[in-house]
Symmetry: C2
């Protein structure tokens, strides 16, 4: 049995140290972002010491849950890292669509909910553009916890239904994702719900689940030159940075891969700040209109999350890029028809950005590139509306041949 040493939370802004047992998910002193601090030093043996069918809980020793009996798992992680043939030499897809609920969100949620169970939660809450809540509601069902979900009012029905089938209580919130975010934050404070919204401002534990994607990439490839990641607020990028940082601290790798953060042109607060050379990210003003629902996050009211993400991009010597809807749709076809992987547009944004960065000479031949493909296309009709209808025929081989040739 595990001899884990307990953890602390510390504020990234004011440095305050907070006990997890306080039940606080953000800094009670300054409202800053908390991060998990492990009261032990990381060494090579800490990483791969456990056996589990979960790609997240294999790394139990590196995660902020103290007792294994609190783990709520659906066998997430251990996703394929595919050496592509159609996308060129050295290009790999980390296929996060293969997680239990069809997106990478199962990684942060399995950690977040397990910690919530450890802290005695009865009700958990989340603001989500769809995938995170579709995931969390499944884990809540498994753990028999009540789950409250706020989504932006334009969330596709296909994503809503997944949340509802698991029995979560879902409301559509008028306004953008940020309106839902702020409602859930305020309500969680008011009613004592555990806020499992997956941005760092809201919850310090979930980003620890995100980092396991870095460990899995390391296991297969050591350290690639580039890792491309779709960005809303960017906790996945922050987590992956942290994962590679820990691997470097432990002496397992020499350098952290350059991280590419990818946003939708119609909602790109982090990419804009990056391009303008700004230190701080400011919220996006316009209401976003894009098929990339999962990453259309204006950051209104919690832009410090974007600033943290931007910091990590720069610390990795990476880049932030934005792509438009047509480029994402093109990338959806490219993944489907070249590799047999059906991604939602936001998830294919990394391939769209790769195409762009290669055209612009920023990524060069011979470099090892990992594209995170973060969510399945099965939940999103956006990529499909342009496909047209299948023709109807009689059961007659001649009619079939005429259509096929």
């Amino acid at each position: 049995l595990s001899q884990k040493i307990s953890i602390l939370l510390n504020c990234r802004s004011c440095g305050a140290e907070i006990s997890p047992e306080s039940g606080k998910y953000s800094c009670p002193k300054c409202g800053g972002i908390l991060q998990v601090k492990y009261a032990r030093s990381v060494n090579k043996d800490s990483f791969f010491s456990y056996s589990s069918r979960s790609g997240v809980w294999r790394f139990f020793e590196m995660l902020p849950v103290e007792r294994r009996e609190n783990i709520v798992s659906l066998e997430e992680g251990n996703t394929p890292l595919i050496r592509t043939e159609s996308l060129g030499e050295g290009v790999y897809v980390k296929d996060e669509t293969r997680n239990p609920t069809g997106s990478f969100k199962d990684r942060p949620n399995t950690v977040g909910i397990s910690k919530a169970v450890e802290l005695g939660a009865k009700t958990i809450a989340i603001a989500s553009s769809g995938n995170a809540a579709g995931s969390l509601s499944a884990y809540a069902a498994k753990a028999s916890l009540e789950c409250v979900v706020g989504v932006p009012e334009d969330t596709p029905n296909s994503k809503l239904k997944q949340i509802m089938v698991f029995g979560a209580k879902v409301v559509k919130v008028r306004g953008t994702y940020s309106a839902a975010f702020n409602l859930i934050r305020e309500s969680s404070g008011k009613y004592g719900w555990h806020n499992l919204t997956s941005v760092c401002t809201a919850n310090p534990y979930q980003v620890e689940g995100d980092k396991t994607a870095a460990y899995e990439i390391y296991e297969r490839l050591n350290n690639p030159d580039w890792v491309a990641i779709p960005l809303g607020a960017g906790p996945l990028l922050v987590g992956i940075y942290r994962g590679f940082w820990e691997l470097r601290e432990a002496g397992l790798i020499d350098k952290i891969p350059r991280l590419i953060g990818v946003q939708a042109e119609e909602c790109a607060p982090i990419a804009r700040a990056y391009k303008n050379g700004e230190k701080e990210v400011t919220p996006w003003e316009r209401k976003p209109h894009t098929i990339a629902h999962s990453i259309a996050d204006p950051l209104t009211g919690y832009s410090q999350d974007g600033t943290l993400t931007l910091e990590k991009i720069r610390e990795s010597n990476g880049v932030a890029e934005s792509v438009n809807d047509d480029e994402m749709l093109e990338a959806v076809w490219q993944l489907a028809r070249g590799e047999g992987i059906f991604a939602e547009p936001a998830a294919a944004s990394t391939l769209a950005a790769f195409n762009k960065l290669k055209r612009n000479g920023i990524i060069t031949g011979g470099e090892k590139v990992v594209l995170l493909v973060t969510g399945t296309g099965l939940k999103s009709s956006a990529a499909l509306d342009r496909l047209g209808e299948a023709p109807v025929i009689d059961p007659d081989p001649d009619q079939l041949m005429k259509l096929v040739s």
Copy 2:
């Protein structure tokens, strides 16, 4: 490198032996069902000798592909076997929704397409109620083969779009699944396409992929008392029977689990023949109206497939059962809200049948039962129409609390 000894095909009806190199997928002498015959004896070491991230190709030595370079894989199989808490002691779910395209069909298709590549195929074809073609078209994309798909005209749009996104040529065929089946069989003969329709009459290789589900169950549970399997024509059941039979031949288990074949009440030719004590299955007369599209197969023109399935149910001392739409929907909720698994109605039919067989005292407490959950609910809107709509609110905690409590 492998020293595989080559295989033969032999006809289950007339006993004729056929070389795979002939490119025949059914008996050229009598039209009977071919099965793969390995020119070697099976022993304990044959099963688990290879290392692969695919749960199918780990068992390369037991499969009908001769050269590993012909393998077309999307890392299928190795699906979770979940010890359920909500369904009772000893009840396990084999969660086949976790396959690359969301259904168990990835198992037969990875084997079928790899063999087609080995045989030099340019164009492959399939008749499908949706899942099998959604899967095959992904593998065809990966292998750069042309793929022709015939589906029944009432196939849900959500399933059609998955097929189309991978670039397959899809037609809706007027009539039931059987009309599509016969069209693809006739056209494949006429135009030299490789028929990868996943029933045994059409293709002898794919059922070899199905059997790997039995190997995986064995690895975790040895031999359970019961294994429940949704049935259209039933190749999955035939394959699972074969897998356990091989394990018994090799001395790894003493007896084959009792197999439960589950059909939809609205289309239950195999369950009907079972209940009437008949030796042969006859086609279903009425056009089926059920939400269980994936298993609504009237078997018109290839009822020998049903007869083969029925034989295997009886040889295992199993049962065939049918369930109605309401029972399947109830089972969908039960899986979602108890276990965090979102199944399509046809896939939840095994839980519906389990509930029924337990009520009727056929399954008793203390028995080990595995329920195959064969396909994800994300592709099917049938389970979701009854969920209603999520309410729209302003970002106001009081409005939220009123709806939640």
